[in-house]
Symmetry: D2
Subunit: 119 residues, 4 copies
Amino acid sequence: MFRRSLSTVAKMKPVTIKCLADVCVIPVSSPSVSDEVAKIQLLLKETGIKHTLHSAGSTLEGEWDTCMNVIGQIHEMLHKEGVLRVQSDIRVGTRTDKGQTAQDKIDIVHEKMKRGFNN
Amino acid sequence: MFRRSLSTVAKMKPVTIKCLADVCVIPVSSPSVSDEVAKIQLLLKETGIKHTLHSAGSTLEGEWDTCMNVIGQIHEMLHKEGVLRVQSDIRVGTRTDKGQTAQDKIDIVHEKMKRGFNN
Amino acid sequence: MFRRSLSTVAKMKPVTIKCLADVCVIPVSSPSVSDEVAKIQLLLKETGIKHTLHSAGSTLEGEWDTCMNVIGQIHEMLHKEGVLRVQSDIRVGTRTDKGQTAQDKIDIVHEKMKRGFNN
Amino acid sequence: MFRRSLSTVAKMKPVTIKCLADVCVIPVSSPSVSDEVAKIQLLLKETGIKHTLHSAGSTLEGEWDTCMNVIGQIHEMLHKEGVLRVQSDIRVGTRTDKGQTAQDKIDIVHEKMKRGFNN
């Protein structure tokens, strides 16, 4: 079961709101991290979460708890590979006015640049 | 139960590694966010999670899933208050070589500054 | 001249190391920011800096002072447009072991995923 | 002079708006970074910039170009010390509606928590 730890005082409750979580994971070990980034991509694929890779991180799309748990799995995987310290930067957004995918966000900007902000 | 959503394809598994998660929450609404930040502090207190406030965010200490879930609760609370979009930046670190609290990190730096790096 | 302010006590000196600066700009005003993001893209084009747009920000490539100054120009542009508060998250990396473009970083990961980490 | 590089195509212009720049510097080398963080604190002191240390970074206060230049000096200092790759996360905010120091931001939150949001 998920929330089984008694040592954790904090009250949890399911957070199922959809989010876009853009994460940049830094294995604090060697300057070359492309091996680790490739392994992260394979793990993301394996979990089945929707994601896209860009030059400064990966954007995950899904429910809050799921996205955040998957990023935690990345940390644990890297630690198992021998990385002593892992640091991530996560930019995460939620909104209630409309649903929007990562691709939607790019499309609307490109469209507005073309149209000249007439709308 | 925690992972009850069938709509979420991604495989979750408990992530219980301790982490330091420093979060800066931005309610994208009005330029003055001190009301929201105060409400966030009250929610943090209510959940029971270990946390400290600084000028650029709050640092949470605890198990991965717990910390991340609590940050998700903040987003949901703000949405319930009427904020349409919430964006957070999370700096989260895990390490397997030693345990370290947020206060430890500050103490060791101050100590090294005094000692002149003799160690 | 650039460093003309006497009110600024801090000592500046040129920082010309190449960097990759990935920035996510948040105009803290309305939930819909696509107009602002489109204007940011036009400003980036106008300055002549090398940049690429992705769903969670824009990656700038160039000398440190230049990249950071251009991001500052974005803030000033948005303020001129009437945005009262602008918050950015910048992930910036520098390295001395080799030069690497944003596209290089993606290419090497894709290559390693294909090759199965044999190298 | 500051903007002397001809190799940089991008157009720079002074950005003197006041900002709060919270930076978390990660020397991607060894898991223990307290030595480097202590050196960063000493460099900050030396430059004369207003700054405060917390467990997840340091908050700089001053004009945009100055703050960002000082962070660049940190990267260069670490590279001189032999660190091959340095990655920073910068949360930077500017606002035109009022001036606010890092301490102000904390004070107002504490005050609102006490007053119970009556205002």
